[in-house]
């Protein structure tokens, strides 16, 4: 049996070294510029009450978008999510969610969030992201609570930044009224975004 030192020793060290580097970079704040969302390291999660007894969590697997990091400019955050990529780890339930009962993905194949304003705290950290969400053919103002996670150079020579954002929506505001009582009215949406600087 052959022993590969690079695989078993060097890689874990490289991983921890990268984590440390990212942590330092985060403390310094992310670099200004335009970023493109990395769909393979970003997730869009939602959770909703089921029969008032539990929270069911699902995700959307197809996400794309971009944003601008610059305190003097509008965030220009633009996220597009394909509604057919809904995934709750149950194929029949996913088919039901894609149907006219809920997301009606044939008629509304994408949902879209665009942010036009960021609020900052006294230390200059971003706290809220204000924008408009278009879902199920309806556009409503939405505010996400935002938490920057980190930023720094990646091992491939690029530069990355990430943040988490969450909000709570009323599904009836977007015309998704089916099965009130069985399925909760309030839906928590969480964005875990990682993006590469362009």
């Amino acid at each position: 049996m052959q022993f590969y030192p690079a695989k078993y020793i060097l890689k874990p060290f490289a991983f921890f070294a990268l984590l440390g580097f990212l942590h330092i970079a985060a403390a310094e704040g992310a670099a200004s510029g335009s970023y493109r969302i990395d769909p393979e390291h970003s997730t869009v999660l939602f959770s909703v009450s089921h029969l008032g007894t539990s929270e069911l969590t699902g995700r959307f697997n197809d996400i794309e978008g971009s944003f601008v990091l610059d305190k003097d400019k509008a965030p220009g955050l633009d996220v597009t999510i394909k509604t057919a990529s809904v995934d709750t780890n149950h194929e029949k339930r996913d088919a039901h969610l894609r149907s006219p009962d809920f997301f009606n993905v044939k008629q509304y194949p994408v949902m879209h969030f665009s942010a036009d304003k960021v609020s900052y705290d006294q230390q200059g950290r971003p706290t809220r992201l204000h924008g408009k969400l278009t879902l199920h053919g309806k556009t409503k103002p939405v505010t996400f609570m935002i938490t920057p996670v980190g930023a720094g150079k990646d091992p491939w020579g690029g530069y990355r930044a990430g943040f988490n954002a969450s909000t709570t929506l009323k599904r009836s505001d977007f015309g998704m009224n089916f099965m009130p009582g069985g399925i909760g009215e309030e839906v928590t949406v969480t964005l875990n975004i990682e993006a590469t600087k362009e």
């Binding site: 029949k92 149907s99 006219p100 044939k106 015309g175 089916f178 009130p180």
Partner: protein
């Protein structure tokens, strides 16, 4: 109240009960029964979808317009004008329902399916006026039940509920048909011609938006065509078998029919 009990009340108990009351209330004028049964389905529809958007936004929002237009068409004096009015209303509604899919994912297969649906509807409307089937309420109730179950199993409980409400309204008329051994029916031809376009509209929505498989759709449509073209007294048995086959196909093609 359990949400599933609510679904049963909205789509089965209420329309079936009200329709039964209407039938046995002594309203002998056809126009009263037609309008009564139309209102019952519309009430169930409005409750199920939480009131349709106007102007219509989604496919199900168009159904009441199709339904009302089909009823109005029934009161047009000239037979040919009735057929033209009904077919035009059906054509316009089906195109309006299909437009979002045609817009985002146009394909020849989709266009072909729509043409088949519209031509079939047109033929069935003409045929239903000339040669009414012997047990129209029973046949329509079987067809709507088949669509309700197939649709609920394939993806859309909403379309399933709307079809179940249609089955429930017509089902109460099926009981006297069965008691009379299918010799006569209290189900007026105008009722059949109002509910038939609605059934075809629901079938189109289930196919386009609720992932109803092609083979299942074909069997359900074949059941409607068979009952119109072969008006035998016990033709409902064939209709029942075709609908059972359609449901069976959905179950066979589904890797998981578990409750969720």
């Amino acid at each position: 109240m359990s949400p599933y009990l609510l679904l049963v009340i909205q789509s089965i108990a209420l329309p079936f009960g009200l329709s039964g009351l209407l039938l046995w209330s002594g309203l002998h004028k056809d126009v009263h029964r037609v309008i009564g049964s139309v209102l019952i389905w519309l009430a169930a529809y409005a409750w199920i979808i939480q009131w349709p958007a106007f102007p219509p936004g989604e496919s199900v929002d168009w159904l009441w317009l199709l339904f009302v237009a089909s009823v109005v068409a029934g009161y047009t004096t000239h037979r040919r004008a009735r057929w033209l009015f009904r077919t035009a209303a059906f054509l316009i509604t089906i195109m309006a329902i299909a437009w979002p899919v045609l817009h985002y994912q146009p394909s020849l297969a989709l266009a072909g399916e729509l043409v088949i649906m519209i031509v079939t509807g047109s033929v069935l409307f003409s045929r239903a006026e000339h040669i009414p089937p012997p047990a129209p309420a029973l046949t329509l109730a079987i067809q709507a039940t088949g669509l309700a179950i197939a649709s609920a199993l394939s993806g859309s409980l909403l379309v399933g509920q709307l079809s179940a409400a249609l089955a429930a309204v017509t089902g109460s008329y099926a009981i006297p048909e069965i008691l009379d051994r299918l010799h006569k029916t209290p189900f007026d031809i105008l009722q059949r011609l109002a509910f038939l376009p609605l059934y075809l509209g629901l079938l189109t929505i289930a196919r386009l938006y609720a992932e109803l498989p092609l083979a299942t759709t074909a069997l359900l449509l074949a059941s409607a065509v068979f009952s119109a073209l072969a008006p035998w007294r016990h033709g409902w048995v064939i209709s029942l078998l075709l609908n059972a086959g359609a449901i069976g196909l959905v179950i066979l093609n589904s890797d998981n029919t578990a409750y969720y």
